[in-house]
């Protein structure tokens, strides 16, 4: 791949209001050159608005945006050198694949041989060799998506923005394109911001994730950090279907413990996050992932941590191939979801009584 001109991106105090509606507030982020950052959040959280402000299609009300050292937030979209991939691709239907990819190059007055060479490079990067003379409508959804990516990468943009580019693909294709896209981005060492509401996409593809809610950043972190150590209740609920167990903090920083509300005895907390600096007696959530809820009647728990066991009634069981989702009504805890290997839960029936357990090493404390 040719050398890239990819830049770092700095966003400082960016804000956008639509009338009295605060779409984005106090948005601060540093994206390193070549990094793949995902804006993750539910619809209406401001992620697409932020993307539009980065692209220049929407002016921000406050704050500044820098590519490298250069401030670009006052430039219109056509002077920003940003590659944008739309949710519906927005390929020009009256142009061929090659013409679509070359559009940004023509606007930059590249010579014809240089254009041809670059288009050929990109076609091989997105593995669409031989399709250069097709019209977009003659391509499958996945192919159209790759043309859109090639078009956005062609002119060596400082930054590539992807606006939910996978949401129009069917599930099977989405999984493959996800990895393709990641591959292409790595290859091109292209600074990329990706917007999605799909936490799996975010976890699979990103170097870092910016979790957003109601126009604000909830948490910035690697996929592992976001999944294993959500900072806030919103984070815990949104990333992975966490079970939130109400509890109270007990003990001190040298021996942090928690008391599950309504249950006797304390539970040693092994992972105490730095952000949680409340003292004893503070109400907290214990986050337990569905895959860490065990069915003690059918399986033995792996050793480690202190185990808490509860009686539960099976409300529903959803088969999803290699695993099953089990909704449980648990004594003292309320609704809990477990995800178990299909084998482990083979005999489990909806409506039956059973018992579940989780270990303290899988209970991550969060601010309540």
């Amino acid at each position: 791949m040719a050398d890239t001109t990819s830049q770092s991106v700095t966003i400082r105090g960016v804000e956008k209001n639509f009338g009295s509606f605060k779409a984005v507030t106090d948005f601060n982020l540093e994206v390193a050159a070549g990094e793949f950052v995902t804006f993750l959040g539910p619809s209406g959280c401001g992620k697409s608005t932020t993307l539009k402000m980065l692209s220049g299609l929407l002016p921000q009300d406050k704050g500044e945006i820098l590519f490298g050292e250069r401030r670009i937030d006052m430039l219109p979209a056509n002077q920003r050198n940003v590659g944008l991939v739309f949710q519906n691709y927005a390929l020009f239907p009256h142009m061929t694949v090659a013409e679509n990819i070359a559009f940004g190059l023509s606007m930059r007055r590249w010579s014809k041989p240089r254009k041809q060479q670059r288009v050929a490079e990109l076609l091989s990067l997105v593995r669409l060799e031989g399709l250069e003379n097709r019209k977009p409508e003659q391509l499958s959804g996945g192919q159209q998506q790759r043309v859109a990516v090639a078009r956005a990468l062609a002119f060596n943009p400082d930054l590539v923005l992807l606006d939910e580019p996978l949401s129009n693909l069917d599930a099977k294709l989405r999984e493959q394109v996800r990895l393709d896209l990641r591959d292409i981005q790595k290859h091109a060492r292209q600074t990329t911001v990706f917007v999605t509401h799909d936490q799996v996409e975010a976890l699979v593809m990103s170097d870092r994730i910016v979790l957003m809610n109601a126009g604000r950043i909830e948490q910035i972190g690697t996929p592992v950090e976001l999944y294993a150590a959500p900072l806030t209740e919103f984070g815990a609920r949104f990333v992975g279907a966490n079970n939130l167990v109400p509890a109270t903090l007990h003990g001190d920083a040298s021996d942090p413990r928690a008391i599950v509300d309504g249950v006797d005895g304390t539970l040693a907390l092994t992972s105490m996050s730095e952000q949680l600096n409340e003292g004893a007696g503070a109400p907290i959530w214990l986050c337990v992932r569905p895959e860490h809820i065990f069915l003690t009647a059918y399986e033995t728990m792996p050793a480690g941590g202190e185990v808490r066991q509860f009686n539960a009634r099976v409300v529903d069981k959803v088969y999803q191939g290699t695993s099953v989702l089990i909704d449980l009504e648990v004594e003292k805890l309320g609704r809990v979801r477990a995800e178990r290997p299909t084998m482990a839960a083979a005999e489990l029936q909806a409506g039956q009584q059973t018992s579940i357990a989780f270990s303290s090493c899988h209970a991550v404390p969060r601010r309540r």
Partner: protein, 275 residues
């Protein structure tokens, strides 16, 4: 499916077919009558094929042809002008998200709603002091005034139906607003614009009431010429033949558009282009 079609279904299908046939006859009968009359050289048409001849066509006087070509020139120029003015104006209205745009798009429809008779009188009072009655420029301006509302309405609908992402994509790829308009917007709405132009042209070719007021001996559109001759001398065969020619022109243009653009554009599917 087929063997299950009961009596009711058969009946309703027959009724539907009949309905369509009756409607077609209703629409086409007067036109067919005019065409028959033009080939039989008389108004009391009979349905025998024996009497068909081209006498009425041969008898069309040069003044008619003059009026015809005058009208074609005026109609083509007016259509071109209307499109050139209407498309950018519609773009500004749709993409510029102008305040009070709904009001504006309804205001431009007024010339369509107001009877042409009144438009004609109004234009005449304006044109006389400006020396625009009884000449080509006056006819042209009158036709442009008439064409603009149709042109704007079509262009507005076309641009509304065109996802803004195409233009945004062009901008993000480095195109200026003008380039994005010329290289992306125009080619994408061109089929729709061609159809709009066709309708405007045909409307201009046959419009009568409006032109009746601003026309004169130096500037006589064919519709006005036919009207005054028929009023003066009754329905003469060569006037009917001329009317026949107008029908052929209309059919030829419609076919031309259908053939060049493909039938899918005729049903207005340009509005719902896949995103």
């Amino acid at each position: 499916m087929k063997p299950r079609a009961g009596l009711g279904a058969v009946f309703s299908r027959t009724a539907l077919t009949l309905y369509v046939i009756v409607m077609l006859i209703w629409l086409l009968f007067p036109i067919v009558l005019v065409l028959l009359a033009s080939f039989q050289g008389k108004l009391e048409v009979d349905f025998s094929l024996a009497g068909l001849n081209l006498e009425a066509y041969k008898a069309i006087p040069p003044a008619y042809w003059q009026a015809f070509w005058f009208t074609v020139r005026a109609a083509v120029s007016a259509t071109a002008l209307a499109i050139v003015i209407a498309v950018p104006a519609a773009w500004a209205m749709v993409r510029g998200r102008l305040r009070g745009r709904r009001v504006l798009s309804n205001v431009v429809l007024i010339p369509d709603v107001v009877p042409q008779l009144i438009m004609g009188i109004a234009l005449l009072t304006v044109f006389i002091p400006l020396h625009l009655s009884n000449n080509f420029a006056g006819i042209l301006l009158a036709l442009v005034a008439l064409s603009l509302s149709t042109g704007l309405r079509f262009s507005e609908a076309l641009l509304e139906g065109l996802p803004e992402e195409y233009e945004q994509a062009a901008l993000s790829l480095g195109a200026s607003r003008l380039k994005s308009f010329l290289l992306v917007t125009i080619p994408l709405i061109a089929p729709g614009i061609a159809i709009a132009a066709l309708f405007i042209f045909m409307q201009n070719l046959v419009t009568f009431e409006l032109l009746f007021f601003v026309a004169g001996p130096n500037a006589t559109p064919i519709s006005v010429r036919l009207f005054s001759d028929i009023v003066d001398r009754g329905v003469i065969p060569y006037a009917v033949a001329m009317a026949g020619i107008l029908v052929y022109v209309a059919m030829a243009f419609y076919t031309l558009v259908a053939v060049t653009l493909g039938p899918k554009y005729m049903a207005g599917s340009v509005m719902s282009r896949k995103g």
